[in-house]
C-alpha cells in the first residue's frame, strides 16, 4: 500500500465505525478507529427514570445482545435495592442467556466472520456456493431466537425480565417443547466446531491480557467474579478500581484500559482461555476433537471459541429447559430503598458492566454502562499496530481487507444507533 487507507464504514460489524490508517514516509504514522457508540446517550436517558424501566430501556441498546443488557442491569439494580431472586428465576435467566448466545454466535460465525475465512465477500456469495452451510447457521440462529421469544416475549428486544425476576413465567410446555430443536442445535454446533476447524486462519498471535467472569462451579456467563489472565481476581464492586474508561477525541466510544494503562481483551477468547476447565464435558470433548488447547492467542480463532461456546450453551440450555418448573411467584416483592449497586455479566462479545444509584423513590440518579466493545477498542487498535508492518507492502485493497478481517474477528458490537434505511433509488 502506498497511500493512506480510509474505510469510512466497516462492513459486517454492528453499528457504524470507520478506520483510517495514515502513512508518513512509507511507514504507518497513525491508526484511528473511529466508532459511534450510543450507550453514553443511554446513560443520560436513564437518569430520572423509574428503576423498573431500566431493563427494557437498556435492552434497546443492542438488537443482537439485549439479554446481556437486561441481565447486567437487573443484577445491578437488585444489588442496589437488596433484592434476592429465587433459584428458579436464576435458572430461567441462565436459559435466556443461552438463547442469546445461540442466536448471536450463530450470526457471527456463519454470516459475519466465516465469509472472511473462506474468501467470500459476504454470506450472500457464500450462500450461493454452500447453501446448506448457511441454512444451518440460519436455523441455529432461529432456534436461539425462538427460545428468546418463548422466555422474553419477543425475540429482538425481550420484555419479560424485571428487577426481582420475570413479569410472568413462560409456560413449562412451551419451554419443554423446544428441547428437540435444542438437541438438533447441539448436534449442529458439534458439526460447526468440526467445520470451523477446517477453515484457514491468518497466523497472528499476541500476548494478551484476558479478562472474563469466573465462577468456581461453572463456566461463568450470568454472573461471577472478574478474573484476569495476570492472576488478579476482583469482585464486580471493585471493577472501576482496576478498569477505567477514557475519552478519545476521535471516537464517540470511550476506550478502556487497566488503571496502570494496559489494554485488555474481553469476549469468547478470554472466556475460553480463563474458563476452559469449566466448559461442559461435551464442549471440552469438541475442543479436544479438533486439538484446541489453551491459551488460544489468535484473535481470528475467536470463531473457534464461539463454536465451542455454542456447543456449551446448547447443552446447558437442554439441561436448564429440563430443570425448568415454574412454581410460586415469578418475581419477589420488595420495598424501595435508596442504594447503589453494580452488575456484571458476560455478553456474547464479553464483559458488560452496569452501575446504578437509585433514590428513595426508585428513580435512577446515576447510571454507568461499560460495554464489551468499548473495553476491546484499545486492544483492537493495538492489534492493528502489530498487524500493520506485515500489511504495508500489500496492494491497497488487499490491505484494507486484511485490516477489516482482523476487526471483524472481534465481533465488535457498535451498538445499535438508528436503523433507518439509506435509500438509493434506481432511475432508468
Amino acid at each position: 500500500m502506498n497511500q493512506d487507507i480510509h474505510i469510512p464504514a466497516l462492513a459486517r460489524v454492528e453499528g457504524e465505525g470507520a478506520l483510517t490508517i495514515r502513512l508518513k514516509d512509507g511507514a504507518i504514522d497513525e491508526i484511528l478507529l473511529n466508532i459511534y457508540e450510543p450507550p453514553r446517550f443511554f446513560e443520560g436517558f436513564l437518569h430520572g427514570r423509574y428503576f423498573q424501566d431500566v431493563p427494557d430501556i437498556t435492552a434497546r441498546i443492542c438488537g443482537i445482545c439485549p439479554v446481556a443488557y437486561q441481565m447486567s442491569s437487573v443484577q445491578a439494580l437488585e444489588a442496589a435495592l437488596q433484592v434476592t431472586i429465587s433459584p428458579m428465576v436464576r435458572v430461567l435467566r441462565q436459559l435466556l442467556y443461552c438463547a442469546e448466545y445461540i442466536e448471536s454466535h450463530a450470526l457471527h460465525i456463519y454470516l459475519l466472520q466465516a465469509p472472511d475465512l473462506v474468501n467470500h465477500e459476504s454470506a450472500l456469495t457464500l450462500a450461493a456456493e454452500a447453501p446448506e452451510l448457511v441454512k444451518q447457521g440460519l436455523r441455529l440462529k432461529k432456534i436461539g431466537n425462538e427460545l428468546l421469544k418463548t422466555i422474553g416475549g419477543r425475540s429482538v428486544h425481550p420484555v419479560n425480565t424485571c428487577v426481582g425476576g420475570f413479569y410472568r413465567w413462560p409456560s413449562e410446555q412451551a419451554i419443554h417443547g423446544l428441547i428437540p430443536e435444542l438437541e438438533w442445535a447441539r448436534q449442529a454446533s458439534i458439526d460447526t466446531v468440526k467445520w470451523a476447524a477446517t477453515l484457514s486462519y491468518p497466523d497472528f498471535e499476541q500476548a494478551y491480557e484476558f479478562v472474563a467472569l469466573n465462577r468456581i462451579e461453572e463456566y461463568a456467563i450470568y454472573d461471577g467474579d472478574i478474573l484476569s489472565s495476570n492472576g488478579k481476581r476482583i469482585s464486580p464492586q471493585e471493577y472501576e478500581k482496576y478498569y477505567v474508561e477514557t475519552h478519545v477525541e476521535r471516537s464517540n466510544a470511550l476506550h478502556s484500559h487497566t488503571t496502570d494503562n494496559r489494554t485488555y481483551f474481553v469476549g469468547p477468547l478470554a472466556r475460553f482461555n480463563l474458563n476452559y476447565k469449566k466448559l461442559r464435558p461435551m464442549a471440552k470433548e469438541a475442543a479436544r476433537g479438533i486439538g484446541l488447547k489453551v491459551p488460544l492467542l489468535n484473535p481470528y480463532k475467536g470463531l473457534l471459541a464461539r463454536a465451542i461456546e455454542l456447543v456449551h450453551t446448547c447443552d446447558l440450555a437442554i439441561e436448564l429447559a429440563n430443570l425448568y418448573q415454574p412454581n410460586g411467584p415469578s418475581h419477589v416483592e420488595f420495598s424501595i430503598q435508596p442504594g447503589e449497586g453494580c452488575g456484571v455479566s458476560e455478553a456474547p462479545r464479553g464483559l458488560l458492566y452496569h452501575r446504578y444509584v437509585v433514590d428513595e423513590q426508585g428513580f435512577i440518579r446515576f447510571a454507568r454502562i461499560t460495554p464489551p466493545t468499548a473495553q476491546n477498542l484499545a486492544q483492537m487498535e493495538s492489534d492493528l499496530w502489530a498487524l500493520a508492518p506485515t500489511v504495508i507492502n500489500q496492494p491497497q485493497e488487499e490491505a484494507s481487507i486484511t485490516f477489516e478481517h482482523l476487526l471483524r474477528s472481534y465481533d465488535p458490537c457498535i451498538s445499535c444507533a438508528t436503523h433507518f434505511l439509506k435509500l438509493k433509488i434506481v432511475t432508468e
Binding site: F42, T418, K424
Partner: protein, 172 residues
C-alpha cells in the same frame, strides 16, 4: 392490538403482511412503527380480515427472513434516509431499489435487500412474490420517544396509503 411481534415466528399462512419497522426510542426512526400502529387503530376491521397480518418489530436483523417466509405480499413500512424533506413518503417496489441497506448496519450490515436476497437464494419458494416499501423520510433521529412535527404530519397519509394498498391487494 399494539402487540409487538418479531422475527422468530414463521408459521403464518397469511397472504398479506404489513410490517412496521423502527426503534421507538430513536425519534423519527419509529415512524414505521407509529404509522402501522395508527393504521391499526383506524382500520381495526381490516385486521380481522382473513389473510392479513400485522407485525411491529424493532431491529429485526436477519430475523426479518422469518417474518417474510410464507407470505405472498409484504408491505414494509420504515423510516428512510434519502436526503428528501422530512416526512416525504416514498412508495417503492423491490426492483426500484438498488440498496435497502441499513443505515447504521444495526443488523451487522444486513438490510432488507440483503435479507431478501439471502432468502431468495436459500429458500426461494417461501419468499414473498410482491414486496413493497413505504418509506417515511426521517428528520430527527436523536434519542427520544416522539416524532418530529413533519413526520407526525405525514402519518395520516401513510395510513391512507397502507389502507389503499391493502384494499387493492384484495382485488388483485
Amino acid at each position: 392490538m399494539n402487540q409487538y411481534t418479531d422475527g422468530a415466528s414463521s408459521e403464518d399462512s397469511g397472504t398479506i403482511k404489513i410490517i412496521g419497522i423502527g426503534q421507538s426510542l430513536r425519534g423519527d426512526d419509529a415512524a414505521g412503527l407509529e404509522a402501522v400502529r395508527l393504521w391499526q387503530e383506524r382500520h381495526q376491521a381490516n385486521i380481522e380480515r382473513q389473510n392479513l397480518q400485522v407485525e411491529l418489530t424493532e431491529l429485526p436483523v436477519i430475523g426479518l427472513l422469518n417474518l417474510l417466509e410464507g407470505t405472498r405480499t409484504v408491505i414494509l413500512v420504515d423510516a428512510v434516509h434519502s436526503n428528501a424533506k422530512a416526512g416525504t413518503i416514498h412508495l417503492l417496489s423491490e426492483d426500484q431499489l438498488e440498496s435497502f441497506s441499513n443505515g447504521s448496519g444495526s443488523a451487522h450490515g444486513w438490510g432488507v435487500a440483503e435479507t431478501l436476497s439471502l432468502g431468495r437464494k436459500l429458500m426461494p419458494s417461501t419468499m414473498p412474490e410482491v414486496l413493497l416499501l413505504i418509506g417515511i423520510e426521517a428528520g430527527d433521529l436523536s434519542l427520544g420517544e416522539s416524532l418530529s412535527p413533519d413526520v407526525e404530519k405525514a402519518l395520516p397519509e401513510v395510513v391512507h396509503l397502507i389502507e389503499q394498498l391493502v384494499t387493492r391487494s384484495f382485488f388483485l
